[in-house]
C-alpha cells in the first residue's frame, strides 16, 4: 500500500501544471472561476490549445492523435485542470463519440471524423434521450427507415447539451421493431444542417439554455453515416456510456467547489464573526470535506485497479452517487453561504464584456445558479436511483 503518486506520476503532474501556468489564458480561467458564461469560441480556443499539446484527447490512443494517458494520468490531468479553473473539455466528440468510432467505425469514418474532432471542425452533440424515456434509454422511438442509399429519420431527441453550438449529432435511432427494445436500435451520425432538423432550446432552473430539444422531420441521412451494423446500436451505446463515466466522481470539481466555498465563508459577515467561524456552518463544511477526503481515496483505489487492467464495474455507480452527493452538498452550502444575495438574478452580469455589475458580491448569483444547475448531477448519466439498483444487483446480489 502506498498512497503517494509514483515519481513518474509526480513528473506528469508537474508537466501539466507548467503547461497550465504557461498556456491557460487568464481570461478563460477568470470566467470559469467567476461562474461566467462560456461562449462557443471560448471552448474552441481552449480545445485548440490542448490539441496543440496533444492532451485534448487524453483518452485516445496515439495512432488517432490522442494523449494515450492511463487512468491515473487522466485523473491527474482532470485534477490539475479543474483546480486551475480551465474550461472543461466538451465531452461529446472527445470522450463519447471518439472511442465508439475507434472501436466500431469503419476506416473511412475514422479517417474523416476523428481528425475533425481534434481540429475543432466538428462540434458534436448527443442524440440519446427522448421525451418521456428518462433513464430508460432503450425505449428509443425516433425512427430511421432505409430508402435506397439513405435513412429517413423522424422523431425527437431531448436533453441535448450544447446542441445549439453543434453542427453534428450522433443519434440512437430505431431501425427495427422486432425483438426486445434493445435489438432494433442503430447508431447514426447526422449533419445538423440537413433540412428537416429543428433545434429548440430548453431553459433550465438557472435560467440558462444549456440543453435542447432536437426535432427530426423526414431528415435524409446518407446510409454511410451508419456506425457499425444496423440494429446493433445498443452495443455501441452501452460502450459509450461506460466511457462517459470517466471522472464520474468529480473529485476535481468538488475540490474547486470546496475551496471556493471556504473563500466565500471567510468573506461573508455573520454578526460579529465571519461565516467560517459559525460552528454549525463550519461543521457542515468540515463534514463534506471529510467525505471528500474519503471519496477521493475510493476514486484512486478504483483508478489504480483500472490502471492495472481491472474493468471498473458497479464501483463506478458508487462513485457517481457519492461524488454527486458531495458536489450537491457543496453547492447547497455555497448557496446558503451567500445569504440574501442569493435572490437577485441578473443574467446579463454573466456575459463577458457586459457593463452590468452583479448585485451584491460577484460570487452570489453563480452560487444560486450552480445549486440549481447541479441538481442534474443526480439525474443525468443514469440517475442515482438507477445506480442504486445497479449496485444492489451487481454487488449485493439482491
Amino acid at each position: 500500500m502506498d498512497l503517494n503518486y509514483t515519481d513518474e506520476q509526480k513528473a506528469f503532474r508537474a508537466e501539466v501544471r507548467a503547461f497550465l501556468e504557461d498556456k491557460l489564458p487568464k481570461r478563460l480561467s477568470d470566467k470559469v472561476a467567476g461562474g461566467k458564461r462560456l461562449t462557443k469560441a471560448d471552448y474552441e480556443e481552449w480545445h485548440a490549445i490542448l490539441n496543440e499539446r496533444g492532451w485534448l484527447a487524453g483518452n485516445w490512443p496515439k495512432e488517432f492523435g490522442g494523449g494515450a494517458l492511463d487512468a491515473v494520468q487522466r485523473h491527474i490531468f482532470e485534477e490539475e485542470t479543474t483546480s486551475a479553473h480551465a474550461p472543461r473539455i466538451v465531452p461529446f466528440g472527445i470522450a463519447m463519440l471518439g472511442p465508439v468510432l475507434q472501436k466500431f467505425g469503419n476506416d473511412a469514418q475514422k479517417a474523416h471524423y476523428l481528425p475533425r474532432i481534434l481540429n475543432g471542425d466538428d462540434w458534436w452533440c448527443q442524440g440519446y434521450s427522448e421525451p418521456g424515456a428518462g433513464s430508460d434509454l432503450a425505449s428509443v422511438k425516433t425512427s430511421a427507415v432505409r430508402e435506397g442509399e439513405h435513412y429517413i429519420v423522424n422523431g425527437q431527441k431531448t436533453w441535448t447539451t450544447l446542441g445549439q453550438y453543434a453542427n453534428m449529432i450522433f443519434c440512437l435511432v430505431r431501425t427495427s421493431k422486432a425483438g426486445k427494445p434493445q435489438e432494433g436500435i442503430s447508431f447514426l451520425l447526422i449533419d445538423m444542417d440537413t433540412p428537416g432538423i429543428t433545434v429548440r432550446p430548453i431553459v433550465l432552473l438557472d435560467g440558462e439554455p444549456e440543453v435542447n430539444e432536437v426535432f427530426f422531420d423526414n431528415v435524409k441521412v446518407p446510409a454511410e453515416n451508419l456506425v457499425g451494423e444496423e440494429n446493433k446500436g445498443w452495443t455501441y451505446a452501452k460502450f459509450l456510456l461506460t466511457h462517459e463515466r470517466t471522472n464520474i466522481a468529480g473529485v476535481g470539481f468538488a475540490r474547486a467547489g470546496l475551496a471556493s466555498l471556504k473563500r466565500i465563508a471567510g468573506l461573508e459577515k455573520d454578526g460579529d464573526r465571519t461565516l467560517i467561524q459559525n460552528p454549525l456552518f463550519a461543521a457542515k463544511m468540515a463534514q463534506v470535506e471529510i467525505d471528500l477526503m474519503a471519496m477521493a481515496t475510493t476514486n484512486l483505489r478504483i483508478l489504480a485497479a483500472a490502471a492495472a487492467g481491472q474493468a471498473p464495474g458497479a464501483e463506478s455507480s458508487m462513485l457517481k452517487i457519492k461524488g454527486t452527493q458531495i458536489r450537491q452538498e457543496i453547492n447547497a452550502l455555497t448557496r446558503q453561504a451567500v445569504g440574501p444575495y442569493a435572490m437577485p438574478f441578473v443574467s446579463e452580469a454573466l456575459d463577458e464584456g457586459s457593463n452590468v455589475e452583479p448585485v451584491g458580491p460577484d460570487y452570489a448569483m453563480p452560487a444560486t445558479q450552480a445549486y440549481f444547475n447541479n441538481r442534474k448531477l443526480s439525474i443525468y448519466g443514469g440517475s442515482s436511483e438507477v445506480q442504486r439498483t445497479i449496485i444492489s444487483k451487481a454487488i449485493l446480489e439482491l
Binding site: G271, P340, Y341, M343, P344, R375, S378, I379, S383
Partner: protein
C-alpha cells in the same frame, strides 16, 4: 383546542383559492416577471378588491382579520398559487408597522391597494440580523438627512412609498435607536433587478436624502419592538407561503409519479420512490404544524413568540430543501426546466430560506432563546 377554521376564514380561504386558481396562469406570472414593476397590476388590484389585504389587519386597524391564522391561510393560498405579489412586504411589514405605530390614515389606502409601501430595512452587510441598521438619520433644522444604503428592497419599482429604517442613535446592531421614515419613491435613486422566484427588488441609495420632520413614523429611536413583532408576523406569513408551495409541489410530484411510466410501469409503483415520497409527506405535515404553532403564538409573550419564530423558520427551511430536492429528483430532467410548473415553485421555495434568517440562523437563535 380547536383546529377548525371559523366560517369567515373558511370563506376567505375558499374564495381566495378559487380566485387564484382561475386567475393565475403561467402567462400571467411570466408577463408580471417581464413587466417593469415585476408585478401584475391586475392581480394586485384583484386581490385588494377581494379584501385579501384587509385580511392582514385587525378590525381596529380597519381590516377584518389580522390574527396569525388569517395570515397563515392567506399566505398558504398565495404560496399554493406561486404568486409573488408583495402582500408580505406591503401588507404585513410596512402596513403592519404603520398600523402599529399609529399611521392609521395610510392603512386604509394600503388595504384598498392604492398606496403601496415598500419596506427598506435590510442592508448589504446585515445578512439576517434584524437589529443591523447602519443607515443613519441626522436631525436637521427642517427634518432629517439619511445616509446609507438598503439592499434587496422587495417590489420597490411597484411601490408609491417606502418605509425606511434608519438609526437615530446607538451602534450598528443596537436594538434601541432605530427609527422609521416614510418616503415617496419618486425622486429616490435605486437600481432594480429581477429575483429568482419572481418579482423585482432594488438596491436603494439613501446617501444624503433629506426628508421632512413628519416623515418620522412612531417615536424617534423606538421602532424595535414593533419591528421584531412585525418580523415575527412576516416569518409566519412566509412560512405559510412555503407550506402552500410545498403542497403544490407535492401535488405536481404525486401526479407525475402516478402518470409517468418508465421500464413499463408508472414510476410511482417503484417502492423506493413511494417510501421517499411518504417521508416528504410526513415532513410537509410537520411544516403545517410548525406554521400553526407560530400563527397561534404571534400574540403571546415575546420569548415564547420568538422561540416559535425560530423553531418554525428552521423547520420550514429544512423541509423546504427536502421538498425541492426530492421533487426535482423524482421528476428527473423535466423537473429542471423553467417551462414546467415545478421550476418556478421550487425556486420560490428555495428562496424562502434566504429571507428573515436561514435554517442555521434560526437554529442558533432557538438555542439562545431557549437558554434565556
Amino acid at each position: 383546542m380547536n383546529f377548525d377554521l371559523t366560517d369567515e376564514r373558511q370563506m376567505l380561504q375558499d374564495g381566495l383559492r378559487r380566485y387564484l386558481r382561475e386567475t393565475v396562469t403561467p402567462d400571467l406570472l411570466a408577463s408580471a416577471t417581464e413587466s417593469e414593476t415585476g408585478q401584475s397590476e391586475d392581480l394586485w388590484t384583484g386581490l385588494a378588491k377581494m379584501g385579501v389585504i384587509g385580511a392582514l389587519f385587525t378590525e381596529d386597524q380597519g381590516g377584518f382579520g389580522g390574527a396569525g391564522f388569517d395570515l397563515a391561510l392567506t399566505f398558504e393560498e398565495l404560496g399554493r398559487a406561486g404568486v409573488f405579489e408583495p402582500l408580505l412586504e406591503m401588507g404585513v411589514l410596512s402596513g403592519g408597522l404603520l398600523a402599529e405605530l399609529g399611521a392609521a390614515d395610510l392603512v386604509e389606502e394600503i388595504i384598498a391597494g392604492s398606496t403601496r409601501v415598500a419596506f427598506a430595512h435590510g442592508e448589504p452587510a446585515g445578512r439576517y440580523e434584524l437589529s443591523h441598521v447602519a443607515t443613519t438619520a441626522t436631525a436637521t433644522a427642517d427634518g432629517w438627512t439619511l445616509h446609507g444604503r438598503k439592499s434587496i428592497v422587495m417590489a420597490l419599482p411597484f411601490a408609491s412609498h417606502v418605509l425606511v429604517s434608519a438609526r437615530t442613535s446607538g451602534d450598528v446592531r443596537d436594538t434601541s435607536g432605530i427609527s422609521l421614515f416614510l418616503l415617496p419613491v419618486e425622486g429616490l435613486s435605486f437600481r432594480d433587478y429581477p429575483l429568482n422566484g419572481g418579482g423585482r427588488a432594488a438596491e436603494l441609495d439613501l446617501e444624503g436624502v433629506s426628508v421632512p420632520k413628519d416623515a418620522l413614523i412612531g417615536h424617534e429611536g423606538g421602532a424595535w419592538d414593533a419591528l421584531e413583532h412585525s418580523n415575527a408576523r412576516a416569518v409566519a406569513a412566509i412560512s405559510a407561503e412555503a407550506l402552500g408551495l410545498m403542497e403544490s409541489i407535492r401535488a405536481l410530484t404525486t401526479e407525475y409519479l402516478q402518470t409517468r411510466k418508465q421500464f413499463g410501469k408508472p414510476i410511482g409503483k417503484f417502492q423506493a420512490l413511494q417510501h421517499r415520497m411518504a417521508d416528504v409527506l410526513i415532513e410537509i405535515e410537520q411544516a403545517r404544524s410548525a406554521v400553526i404553532n407560530l400563527a397561534g403564538h404571534l400574540e403571546g409573550d415575546r420569548v415564547t413568540r420568538e422561540r416559535h419564530v425560530s423553531a418554525t423558520k428552521n423547520l420550514i427551511g429544512r423541509v423546504g430543501r427536502l421538498v425541492v430536492e426530492e421533487s426535482i429528483q423524482m421528476h428527473g430532467g423535466i423537473g429542471m426546466t423553467e417551462e414546467y410548473a415545478l421550476g418556478h415553485l421550487a425556486k420560490r421555495l428555495t428562496m424562502v430560506d434566504h429571507r428573515f434568517g436561514d435554517t442555521d440562523y434560526h437554529l442558533e437563535r432557538f438555542i439562545r432563546l431557549s437558554a434565556a
